[in-house]
Point group: C2
DNA sequence: GTGAAAGCGCTAACAC
DNA sequence: GTGTTAGCGCTTTCAC
């Protein structure tokens, strides 16, 4: 930067100004500086800038997994807005364990990000303490809570399970089952579904649970297990993701069962393929784009220090009724 | 850090050493320093460290899209290794346009990453120049070229298309068609497939092309289009992704066509669901985990300055024959 | 094994 | 509108 200044016949500070606040530099000077930068191929050092200004324009984003489309698409919407505002994303995958998240938080904090995005609302005490000390805006996504660290953008998984049960009962399904992945929030939905369904109908809800993440193959296996345990015809199955739902659909079809007459299926997530399967999937839609955007805007609002911003955004969900239930 | 030193009765430098090279500090001193850190909840400032040492331990990763499982899973494998070695990932999505990539490269370079991961082997002249000036290790993934910027880990898309055509001919399919997304590399595979198939059989290959990214819905539409154009029974369809293949499968089944007897389908990618559809998908497998790991190791090797490391790694691919073709 | 000094490349505060 | 000065919080080098 000093070198650029020399070439342009100005001091180093003026170059700094030309880059950050061009309107505070005279047009002619600016021109000369731009020229020098062009000629030399100079790339400013944002690390030094961050140290001097204690603003990194870096956002740490911690998600359980990038290969899960559900988190990936939120991240996509989130980072698009952030990128447009000049922020960049440092990414880490935390899996589902709290201590891995804690380690990731500590490491990221040492980079002095301007804000942090966390998935879920459960965090270790150590994580909370570090985040508190760091004093940066934090947004927790994919869930809601009365006690957010800072802001929170998500929806109630309990409520989603309940509403799905209400739907199942309202649609007249006299029996129900669940296929659930090994994910805290999925389990919460399953329990809420079963609770509500059992209370309303007095009929026990059967469960096929998997410790792994949801795949089409496991969805098939889930339905197979349920059928082996004599799941009655006319049952509805509440799946913890559309992957499972599609798997159940494939398995049902392979066995010559009609969906939704013999077996009805409810997915979760309303993924891209859900509308195009045969029959099309009835599912719970979460607007992941809105979720990501709202999270980004919440952080941006915090940067602008708007104090009146609501801290918890419940973006809700919606049952999308198609043909599978 | 000076504060920690005060509390531990040593100088600031000793604290620095205790953190980076603990064995160069006496056990008792170390103990007192660790204590002070624990008490205060001190988090080192990696920004200052990066500035002083000009080592950021940050890797910039540029992929077309995180919501595409194919890139996401490579990223996952890549970042897992990098994380274990103490590196963190700055992520950007570049889409498919070269100038967006160039902007992202410039921005990331200002953060002084220790290395950069790029998707594909085509980059703008400006990108190449900046990367060259930066003098950091660069790994290009998902393709191979004779003229890598630095290292390159991928496979030949041309070869993949050709081998798929050989497979189709060898399996006795007398007609062929393609369903292709608007992606440079997918188009390359399509062309190689068509070329080879036409040369071997003398029969023209029909094409359904989409500008958008591959989805199940578009796969259905692709087959529908092909069928409307009187695609003969007994044709094989080479899809640019498993999503398309699954869509074609759904559409064929919905129309009462038998797969592979009436229509045979070849996917691309061997995604998680490919083995579990009915019939299971014949597809081209790319080992995305190996790809990501190889990319990470190539960079790590560059850091260690091993000069004998091969610059281009062709990880190949494999036709996985299941039931759909 | 430990410390003092210098400096990484910027921004902030203040002069002019 | 532009320059001067003083750091930001570390690592590096060299001395002891």
């Amino acid at each position: 930067m000093a070198e650029i200044g020399r070439l342009a016949g100005v001091s180093q500070v003026t170059v700094s100004r030309a880059l950050s606040t061009p309107d505070k530099v005279s047009p002619e000077t600016l021109e000369r500086i731009r020229n020098a930068i062009e000629r030399t191929g100079y790339v400013p050092n944002a690390v030094a800038g961050a140290l001097a200004s204690s603003k990194s324009r870096l956002i740490a984003a911690l998600v359980p997994s990038v290969t899960n489309i559900v988190y990936a698409s939120v991240l996509h919407a989130f980072s698009e807005i952030m990128w447009d505002r000049g922020y960049q994303i440092m990414l880490s995958e935390t899996g589902l364990e709290l201590d891995r998240e804690e380690k990731a938080i500590a490491t990221h904090l040492s980079r002095r990000p301007d804000a942090m995005l966390l998935t879920g609302v459960r965090h270790s005490a150590g994580s909370r303490r570090m985040l508190h000390n760091a004093g940066i805006p934090v947004v927790e996504i994919w869930d809601v809570t009365d006690t957010p660290i800072d802001c929170c953008v998500g929806f109630s998984h309990k409520e989603a399970g309940r509403v799905a049960a209400d739907f199942a009962v309202g649609a007249g399904y006299a029996h129900a089952a669940t296929i659930t992945a090994g994910d805290e929030r999925a389990i919460c939905r399953r329990d809420a579904f079963a609770h509500r369904y059992e209370r309303l109908t007095g009929t026990k809800v059967q469960a096929a649970d998997f410790a792994a993440h949801a795949t089409l193959g496991l969805g098939r296996e889930g339905l197979a297990q349920l059928l082996d345990r004599n799941l009655p015809r006319g049952s509805v199955i509440f799946c913890s993701s559309d992957q499972f739902a599609q798997g159940a659909l494939v398995e049902a079809t392979a066995r010559g069962l009609c969906v939704p007459q013999d077996i009805a299926i409810i997915g979760f997530g309303d993924q891209e393929f859900a509308a195009s399967t045969v029959p099309a999937l009835t599912t719970v839609r979460i607007d992941r784009q809105i979720l990501g955007q709202t999270a980004a805007n919440a952080l941006l609002a915090r940067f602008a220090a708007s104090p009146e911003t609501a801290m918890v955004h419940d973006i809700g969900f919606e049952i999308v009724r198609r043909q599978s239930a």
